[in-house]
């Protein structure tokens, strides 16, 4: 994984541990919980877009499928949230597999439109299947997660719960990137034909990473449902897919660290800009446009490059880890 990633993980871990002890305001704590939940989705989206080079404009739909599946199962069928979480993962993963198999044969604009259309169909279903979803007004009283007698009913408890999952997912994803599979994914982004000819089953890996990103979104959806305890379709609309896209783009598409930072930045920014609440799409649009034109590598790396003018060689990491081994 490289020393730098280990160090960053350590810093993040310590920050995650300490923050709730410093921040006593429960409102701020709940924002950090949302940052964690959304980070799960954007880590997946970064793997899909930044590493494998495949776009999805329907990621909010997988978030929604995860949230509604586990919400409905635990509320209307009284299943344990843990079991609901597992079932939701399988349902979302299954749907992603079914939709991804034909969709990922498409490239560029076609894939974008197909995922967009898929997202809209799910959104319509959430609105129309009133018997299960409560329709446009949604449904509530979703139970909390429980471990024995320990109920995750306070923000403080849920914060640690969510962020432990984020850390695990992050470690998994970092492992993935720096592996045979991760290189295969990046080679698809680099040149799909060459990847194929070098023995990478590109069709298989594209579907697998698509399903993985859907599963991350599904876990996020379940965590969201049992935190907010109320679901309505508005949360899972096209504009949330765009918000997720913006978060990934802000951080630089080809970095999962960037995805987390972008998520934190945009989520916190929007909370502080509450006055603009209704006009958040103006912010997404403006931010996306400016970054894509002026800082296509993302805010952090882009600014770094602008300031120091030099190229930051990513591969110093590998080089150093090799040298240290000698």
């Amino acid at each position: 994984m490289g020393k730098k990633n280990l160090f960053s993980l350590l810093v993040l871990g310590i920050m995650v541990m300490i923050l709730p002890l410093v921040i006593s305001n429960p409102y701020y704590l709940s924002i950090l919980i949302f940052v964690g939940i959304y980070s799960l989705i954007t880590i997946g989206l970064s793997l899909l877009m930044g590493y494998a080079g495949q776009i999805s404009l329907g990621q909010a739909a997988f978030f929604g499928i995860g949230a509604y599946t586990s919400g409905i199962l635990s509320t209307k069928f009284s299943l344990s949230p843990w079991l609901a979480l597992i079932i939701a993962i399988f349902v979302t993963g299954g749907i992603a597999f079914l939709i991804g198999t034909p969709a990922l044969r498409l490239k560029g604009h076609y894939l974008a439109m197909a995922t967009l259309a898929f997202g809209q169909i799910i959104f319509i279903i959430l609105n129309e299947e009133i018997a299960y979803t409560g329709g446009p007004s949604g449904f509530g009283q979703i139970p909390y997660f429980k471990l024995g007698n320990f109920v995750f009913n306070s923000d403080f408890r849920y914060y640690y719960f969510v962020w432990s999952i984020v850390l695990v997912v992050l470690i998994f994803s970092l492992n993935l990137i720096h592996s045979r599979v991760g290189r295969a994914l990046r080679s698809i982004h680099g040149s799909e034909i060459a990847a194929n000819v070098l023995g990478v089953n590109t069709a298989k890996y594209k579907i697998q990473v698509f399903v993985l990103s859907a599963i991350y979104a599904s876990i996020a959806g379940t965590l969201y449902a049992h935190f907010v305890t109320f679901l309505s379709p508005g949360t899972f609309s096209f504009s949330f897919s765009i918000a997720l896209l913006t978060m990934v783009v802000i951080g630089g598409m080809d970095s999962i660290w960037g995805a987390i930072m972008g998520t934190a930045l945009l989520t916190i920014l929007l909370e502080f800009l509450r006055i603009f609440h209704d006009y958040d799409i103006l912010i997404y649009g403006g931010v996306l446009l400016l970054i894509m034109i002026f800082l296509p590598e993302g805010v952090f790396k882009g600014l770094f490059n602008l300031i120091y003018k030099g190229n930051f060689p990513k591969n110093r990491l590998i080089k150093k880890s090799l040298e240290s081994r000698r």
Partner: protein
């Protein structure tokens, strides 16, 4: 109403709305042909056309006729400015970059419209009265005739433009082979600007003529774009005749589906058609342009 009458009524409704989808598809084609870009902000031009006309007639109190032209002009300008500011500065952008940029443009327009005019739904008066015409027991609104007439006019103008004007022929050359067009001295970058302006104009016209029937609000663009894209793909991306015919097909399918199956799932019908076409016949069923 008998089943036959009902069927005819759905057919008329489908043709009306289908002509709008066809026009959105034409907009997609024009930009796609000269740049290879799918402009995901296409639906927003339609929305802006409608909203600006509403603003000009109700707030500025200009006559409808004048508002129509002023609004088309303004949206054309917006399209051109969008190209200059967002597309033009890019040096060999990747497809993902282009998708994100046109998406960003789209929600920026949407947000701007919401900022200016709020979330309400607005309407325009029909161009020539509301008195319905009865045909075999089904109703045709006079506005429908306007829509079909104006659409016909737009198609004729486009044919004229692409076959007889210098700019039109140059754009056609770009569609066939951009690099070759550049080599024979066509200013390809300028043609990109033209194509954005032209498809913004067509979008605006579509938005204005549909508003008296379908109403308009800031949030209409995305759905119109998807359905227009559906028509463009069904007709074979890049084929203008295909776009118009496919627009009607989708409009009619949607209207029949809404009438006989479920009105709640009306919007889902075109989406399912789009997915089916993309998954099984990405080259379209009418045209045969190769897909990327």
């Amino acid at each position: 109403m008998s089943l036959g009458n009902q069927l005819l009524q759905y057919l008329f409704t489908g043709i009306t709305i289908g002509s709008i989808y066809g026009m959105v598809a034409l907009g997609f084609n024009i930009i796609y042909n000269s740049t290879g870009i799918i402009n995901l902000a296409q639906g927003e031009f339609v929305m802006l056309g409608g909203m600006i006309t509403i603003f000009l007639t109700t707030v500025v109190k200009l006559p409808l006729f004048l508002s129509f032209f002023l609004s088309v002009l303004l949206v054309t300008l917006i399209g051109a400015i969008f190209e200059r500011l967002a597309i033009h500065p890019l040096k060999s952008p990747s497809v993902i970059t282009l998708i994100i940029i046109t998406i960003a443009g789209s929600i920026l327009f949407k947000g701007g419209a919401m900022f200016l005019w709020g979330k309400e739904t607005f309407t325009l008066p029909s161009f020539s009265g509301e008195k319905p015409i009865f045909v075999l027991g089904a109703i045709i609104l006079p506005q429908t005739l306007w829509i079909l007439g104006i659409m016909g006019g737009v198609v004729l103008l486009l044919i004229f433009f692409f076959s007889f004007t210098r700019a039109g022929k140059a754009m056609k050359a770009c569609a066939v082979n951009r690099r070759a067009a550049n080599l024979v001295g066509i200013n390809v970058k300028l043609m990109v600007l033209f194509s954005f302006a032209l498809s913004a104009a067509i979008g605006a016209v579509a938005g204005i003529i549909i508003t008296p029937i379908a109403l308009m609000d800031y949030d209409r663009g995305t759905m119109l774009a998807i359905k227009g894209f559906c028509a463009a793909v069904l007709g074979g991306l890049g084929s203008n005749a295909g776009a118009v015919i496919a627009g009607f097909l989708i409009g009619i399918t949607e209207s029949l589906g809404a009438g006989f199956i479920s009105s709640g799932y009306k919007d889902a019908i075109a989406l399912v058609v789009l997915l089916a076409v993309l998954f099984f016949r990405p080259g379209g069923i009418l045209g045969n342009k190769e897909h990327t």
